[in-house]
């Protein structure tokens, strides 16, 4: 319970950052978006609770959050309209900026270790990124074509 409260405190802080950010970036009134944000944060908290309750299931809390919100917003679900219009007050891109700000800070103490690595790893990592991305994209392109979706 203490852990849940602690997590929710942090989620509220993230919520505040998003509300301020989306007011500046997308002109969404921060106060009017509070109800939507509360619903988003409650689903987020639920995903943390599920993750905590199922330690043996290797599914990240992020994926649980998507899964719960996916179920609530499927067309034949009675919750769909309400859930989509309420969470619509929270802008998609607005949620991404605080994440990456935290991520940027968090790698601050890894730059030293990276400098120690060989320059070769830079080239190889770029090849890995490109290989992974376009490998998948090419297969997806072929299958989507065969299925007649694109």
């Amino acid at each position: 319970m203490t852990k849940t409260l602690e997590q929710f405190k942090l989620l509220i802080l993230v919520g505040i950052l998003i509300l301020i950010g989306q007011q500046i970036g997308f002109g969404l009134n921060a106060v009017q978006s509070i109800p939507g944000m509360i619903v988003v944060l409650l689903v987020a908290q639920l995903s943390l609770i599920i993750k905590g309750a199922l330690p043996n299931v290797k599914f990240p809390a992020f994926a649980w959050a998507t899964m719960i919100s996916l179920l609530l917003s499927m067309p034949f679900m009675p919750t769909a309209n309400w859930f989509l219009s309420t969470t619509g007050q929270v802008n998609f891109l607005g949620t991404t900026t605080p994440i990456l700000a935290f991520a940027g800070i968090s790698v601050g103490n890894k730059l030293g270790a990276l400098k120690k690595m060989s320059w070769k790893i830079v080239i190889i990592a770029i090849c890995v990124f490109i290989g992974t991305f376009f490998g998948s994209a090419i297969i997806a392109q072929i299958v989507l074509k065969l299925q007649g979706i694109i």
Partner: protein, 277 residues
């Protein structure tokens, strides 16, 4: 007690720092540039990750004393644990994109599932390069996959994280952690220049990392005609969830045997003699 106090201080300092970064990044807003055949779409998240790195003690903190006080190692540690929490509202938003499109997603199921196998293409692209550069067993770890946490775990368990293979996997992992979002934030929109369909590129964005998928798919979604962007994000999120489920098994049962086999074939031919990483 002192410990608790320092955590609270780290929390407050991190919050203030991130608030500044978010405000400045959102204020700059979305910028688009035409580059060659494609468009680069710069999103606020991209500025945020760069500003985040800049304010740490290793870079600007070194020269600006008050900044070093604001962003210390406690704040860096705390920020690391906050990434997982901060990702959750985005996870919820992704769900609201997938849910209404669930029929479309199921219809595209075969493509979504099969493209998961495309991730092994990295071995064919990156392993020869690594060998030509003179890497030995490090190449196994560095090129086996895009090396997010599950791969790190598997390679660490199989070879030991201090082994050459472990050094390799850590190298790619670190590169991804530090530069992955920047790289994919640029590649997402630029990749449209290849002529591949936005939906195929969207599926490719799901590589098992929430932040890389977000960087790639958001910049892609911002660059495609607006009628397509929701589907782009929905495919990307679904593909990323699938990688979360299948990725580990692909690495264990396909990628690791394959990279070893290819290493044994290629190393005598193109590996440099006596070279090491």
């Amino acid at each position: 007690m002192a410990n608790e106090k320092s955590i609270t201080k780290a929390l407050i300092n991190a919050f203030i720092t991130v608030l500044f970064i978010v405000v400045i990044s959102e204020f700059i807003g979305i910028k688009k540039f035409a580059v060659g055949p494609g468009t680069v779409t710069l999103l606020p998240m991209l500025y945020a990750v760069i500003f985040g790195m800049l304010v740490t003690p290793g870079i600007l903190g070194k020269v600006v004393a008050p900044l070093k006080k604001l962003v210390d190692n406690d704040v860096i540690e705390f920020a690391g644990s906050m990434v997982m929490i901060a990702l959750l509202p985005l996870g919820v938003k992704y769900g609201t994109l997938v849910g209404p499109n669930i029929m479309k997603i199921i219809q595209a199921g075969p493509a979504l599932l099969l493209q998961e196998l495309g991730n092994i293409a990295t071995i064919f692209v990156a392993l020869p390069v690594a060998l030509l550069l003179g890497m030995k067993r490090e190449a196994i770890g560095a090129t086996v996959s895009i090396c997010r946490e599950p791969t790190l775990g598997v390679i660490g368990e199989k070879y030991g994280i201090n082994s050459p293979e472990g050094t390799g996997v850590l190298g790619t992992y670190m590169m991804g952690t530090v530069f992955g979002t920047i790289f994919f934030g640029l590649l997402g929109s630029l990749s449209l220049g290849t002529g591949l369909h936005p939906y195929a590129l969207a599926m490719a964005s799901g590589m098992g990392s929430g932040s890389m998928m977000t960087a790639a798919s958001s910049s892609l979604a911002a660059a495609v005609p607006s009628g397509m962007s929701e589907t782009v994000l929905a495919y990307a999120a679904t593909s990323n969830m699938l990688t979360g489920v299948t990725g580990l098994y692909v690495v264990i049962f396909i990628s690791i045997p394959l990279v070893n086999k290819l290493y044994n074939v290629l190393e005598p031919k193109i590996g440099k003699k006596g070279g090491n990483s």
